[in-house]
Symmetry: C2
Subunit: 623 residues, 2 copies
């Protein structure tokens, strides 16, 4: 058995793949299917024009393209053949884009006719062809393509195909001439359509365009990319270019679904269940919406005119890979990735002990829901229900949009209504991490672009403030005895220690500690707040680890570890700090062992406290 | 305008919902749609039997049931009417279950006929009705239902319906009698089928069953539950009972999709795009696979025999909620929830400093991928590709199945192949958190039921062991100078401290520290390991916070904080510890301030170190 070469093409957009991607499991699977039918040479070549009957009957190629633009190919997946009827959905899409949905739907029906593809019967009641996948309908589609001249119109058709496949295409002139010379039945259909007003303009020009579009040369890989483009809402997954306006994709897929496979449409939907189109050139393209595109080429046709091996390959892929549209799937998926409360996970703001303890008590009234994936109707319904079930037990309900890929307008409406319901109960809905173009239209008090941590920080402020705590700018400068760590000392001890603590001021934005400098002192914040930041390789902006506020200390590791500072610290507002020099403190400690001991214990206790909180957060986040 | 009552029924399985769930956003949306068509009284009642013409033409109800069994209803959603043709897919499903797919497909085709529902034409070539949604096909379906008597057969049909809707159902005997007395055309169809061998047995019995199944009384809510049952792979989402074997669901949905809406099948698929079935009783059920079921009742029919308002309601729901099967969706969803390496996130094992530092260097060869949602072909394809892209940079690749809802067999095959590919490169694939019934069939060295943390712990051991570290049972008892914290002291200092450290032994499973007891001592582990555990309210099994091994200390917070112990500690193996009493240590410290200071600093440093690691983990996990 001759083994076909597996061809793997990397997406242009993705990172350079490792060389051995050629051995991916899906390549092996395609190879298996290829091997199964390599010698299955049933069916016969199309022979209504001599060019089609001349094709090598053994040619056979399969390609799959993923939603992120990865191309699998096996066999003759780069062999060119004429696209034929597979041009119909593409040109139908172009007609929709050129003339608008309403006009096109008036001109071409969407009912499967039950008649052969070249039928000369029409939907008499509505004076139009039954659907755009029979020749009669496809000719009307082509007649609707705009352009200032025949050449211009064809260039627009060709450009559309090129956007769909992501490469330059050409026309087989011999096939075009043959089709044109022998297409008497299509000519009859077109003239009948002209006669009954279904098409307008120069009928010979329309016919020539139609014959020409059928003679465009494509490969199985091209068909898979076309299919993946349709699967991807009209954007070519390999090139990233839009080939069809998003609003027309569903209609194109719908007519492929009901009428794409000639007289096998019902059986195809039953057993394969993917919108598809075949052509007498031997190609089939099939679409798994949102997921992937399939292209197959084998020129031997079955009795209804579909590629014999193409249908079998699609059957095997559908059954084996379980990609039938109506296969059970995703029933339990939820848009809520995880949920936590403000007493379980804290913002990056490190607060005074009194505030922090208060949040242990009252932080639970903040509930954060991290959303993921797509937020369409079913997911949004479940979210609204979940939040309303929790409504009694909280006051602030944060929906974190950061990890959502797509949000439907109906989902936003449900979220908006949810906001209203919560408001009527004196509760508040908050949106976080919203990065979609349009305003969410939800009446919320915080900026929707804030990430969940930022929202949490502000809500902690609100919750604390409502409970009578002073917050942020309201906080008076802290006296030494009120500093969290120092507060364990007696009045006399504090008086002695104070002499060791020279004050320093920093303007907002000034650097207080530089990563890598020796850790030689501890800082007590008496006014304002500081940001702890870590530089990230290859990024200009450093990462904010935490914000520490007045009353707390930073750089305390200096007391335990020598070595370099592990982060930068910047003044996040105008700041006043008291500086405790490590060497001075150690020698001070020799005379005042009690003070030394008490302070070391207080710093240790604060570390222990933060470690316990951090471990709790890890437990929540790891869920 | 009379406002309809919104009825919300809680799922029996779910927790008691809050009372104000009646005001959920989706209820409001259904109410809007209801209001829009409340006075839309076009169409006419079915009148081929007098009973149908007597129904109150104003009756109108809408219901939606979710994949988790939540029932929305508006208007007359609990009003009973005869199911009529909506019985066809249900009985087709029963026939598939009774006779097997192959036999049923031989007896009834799956091609839309293009003929009216009561057509007396057949697929002559295959000597069978075109599909099970026309009367000719439905009668064959009924003829295939098994049973020892007519009564038994009908009971089986009725029971199937009852499992689909989750309540007892009855038959309208007047409708049944009327249909039977006037169903001459159906009788003719059945006798023709008998004549040509399409059905066997007692034709009058089959016909009577058929008329009777059409006269079963259901509500819009029942239809929505039936549809949700189909959406949910054949399991009733409200009761949890199976109504149809999973393997036949797709086939039932397929024929509904192509042939369910009489002559409007093509237009319905184009504009609404949900598998559906209507009946002349005025009902429509529509299915969004995996997601939800819709039931509508309004007895006024349009010209092709579908409920006039029913079609409009479904159109509005499909367009507004964007639930058309071919609407673009989920294109970017990924099964990989997050990924981290063994140097970023550690297992719960707290290791000696030397091992821990080693993992900072070599832990990166362990790569964990947390999977989520469903693992079908497209998701599995992406996973295999991602892992192969990372293959060069790691040695152990852990797929965490814990958060997966469903795994397809093709996905397991791809994962299996991935394991083979990695093995061929001297790398290893590991499955974690596998809780599906069947063996994954993947050749892995660790038990697949272990959770990701357990797997990580074992892989850390393997990685350390390969790098020449002694692990677990191999570790010799630790001498005092080799204890991580003590190692900062000089020989003389250690000799002095040793006198303070009486050894104690614990048998595997013994409790060493009890949560709530006063924290009065620190323990150094010289042999074995201990588990830190926190009791969880309402659970017999406590939660393991961490496992600490020989060389490390525990209970160190005693040195900084007084107060009660915050967790239990148990011997995870036979254990030997050295105990440092806090009070003794403090008084010792008065004479040996240097030792005291050095030890306090070492403990503080170890806390600082763990805090830094914990914060890094939080950053990784919060992604």
């Amino acid at each position: 058995m001759k083994r076909a070469t597996v061809q793997i093409t990397a997406p242009t957009a993705a990172a350079k793949p490792a060389a051995d991607l050629a051995a991916l499991p899906v390549s092996a699977l395609l190879q298996e299917i290829y091997d199964r039918y390599e010698n299955h040479l049933e069916g016969k070549l199309a022979d209504y024009i001599p060019e089609l009957a001349k094709v090598d009957r053994k040619k056979f190629g399969i390609s799959i393209v993923t939603a992120d633009g990865f191309v699998y190919g096996v066999g003759d997946s780069e062999f060119e053949f004429s696209v034929q009827s597979i041009s119909k959905p593409i040109v139908y899409g172009l007609a929709l884009a050129d003339r608008g949905r309403e006009r096109v739907l008036r001109k071409i029906g969407v009912e499967p006719s039950g008649d052969p593809f070249n039928s000369i019967t029409f939907d008499e009641k509505n004076n139009r062809p039954f659907n755009p996948m029979v020749n009669a309908g496809a000719i009307v589609s082509t007649s609707l393509v705009k352009g200032v001249s025949a050449a211009d119109r064809f260039q627009r058709i060709l450009n559309t195909f090129e956007r769909f496949v992501g490469r330059k295409l050409s026309v087989d002139e011999n096939i075009h001439k043959s089709e044109s010379a022998t297409g008497h039945r299509n000519r009859a259909i077109a003239y009948l359509e002209l006669n009954s007003g279904m098409i307008e303009g120069n009928v010979e020009e329309h016919l020539d365009l139609y014959f020409r579009q059928c003679a465009i040369l494509v490969t199985a890989r091209d068909l898979a990319v076309m299919a993946a483009t349709l699967a991807n809402g009209g954007i070519n997954t390999v090139t990233g270019e839009r080939a069809l306006p998003a609003e027309h994709v569903r209609d194109v897929l719908s007519v492929m679904n009901t009428c794409g496979m000639y007289d096998y449409a019902g059986g195809w939907q039953f057993s394969i269940g993917l919108p598809a189109k075949s052509g007498v050139g031997g190609g089939i393209m099939a679409v798994l919406p949102g997921r992937l595109g399939i292209g197959v080429f084998s020129p031997l046709l079955d009795t209804v005119g579909n590629s014999e091996r193409g249908v079998r390959v699609c059957e095997d892929i559908s059954r084996y890979c379980r990609v039938h549209l109506l296969d059970y799937r995703a029933g339990n998926q939820t848009a809520i990735r995880r949920s936590y409360r403000g007493n379980e996970v804290r913002s990056k703001r490190i607060r005074r002990d009194s505030d922090s303890r208060a949040l242990d008590e009252i932080g639970g009234q903040i509930v954060v829901y991290e959303l993921q994936g797509d937020l369409a109707f079913p997911e949004a319904e479940a979210v609204t229900r979940r939040v309303m079930q929790d409504a009694e037990s909280g006051n602030f309900f944060v929906l974190d949009f950061e990890r959502l890929f797509r949000v439907d307008s109906v989902a936003l409406k449900l979220i908006r209504d949810l906001g209203g319901l919560l408001k009527a109960r004196g509760k508040e809905l908050v949106i976080a991490g919203y990065k979609f173009g349009l305003s969410p239209g939800v009446d919320v008090s915080l900026p929707v672009e804030l990430n969940a941590d930022g929202v949490l920080e502000r809500l902690e402020d609100i919750v604390l403030s409502r409970a009578g705590h002073s917050i942020g700018e309201e906080v008076e400068p802290i006296d030494i005895p009120d500093l969290d760590i120092v507060s364990v000392l007696s009045k006399e001890q504090i008086a002695k220690l104070s002499k060791l603590l020279p004050p320093r001021q920093f303007k907002k934005g000034e650097r207080i500690i530089r990563q890598g400098d020796p850790a030689d002192s501890l800082f007590f914040i008496t006014r304002g707040r500081v940001d702890v930041r870590v530089p990230i390789k290859g990024r200009a902006e450093s990462h904010r680890v935490s914000t520490i506020e007045a009353g707390k200390a930073f750089g305390e590791l200096a007391l335990f570890e020598g070595g370099p500072r592990t982060a930068d610290v910047f003044a996040a507002s105008d700041v006043e700090v008291l500086v405790l020099d490590k060497i001075e403190f150690v020698s001070f400690g020799k005379n005042e062992p009690e003070i030394y001991r008490a302070l070391m214990i207080a710093v240790g206790k604060s570390l222990a406290d933060r470690l316990r909180r951090a471990n709790q957060e890890i437990r929540v986040l790891a869920q």
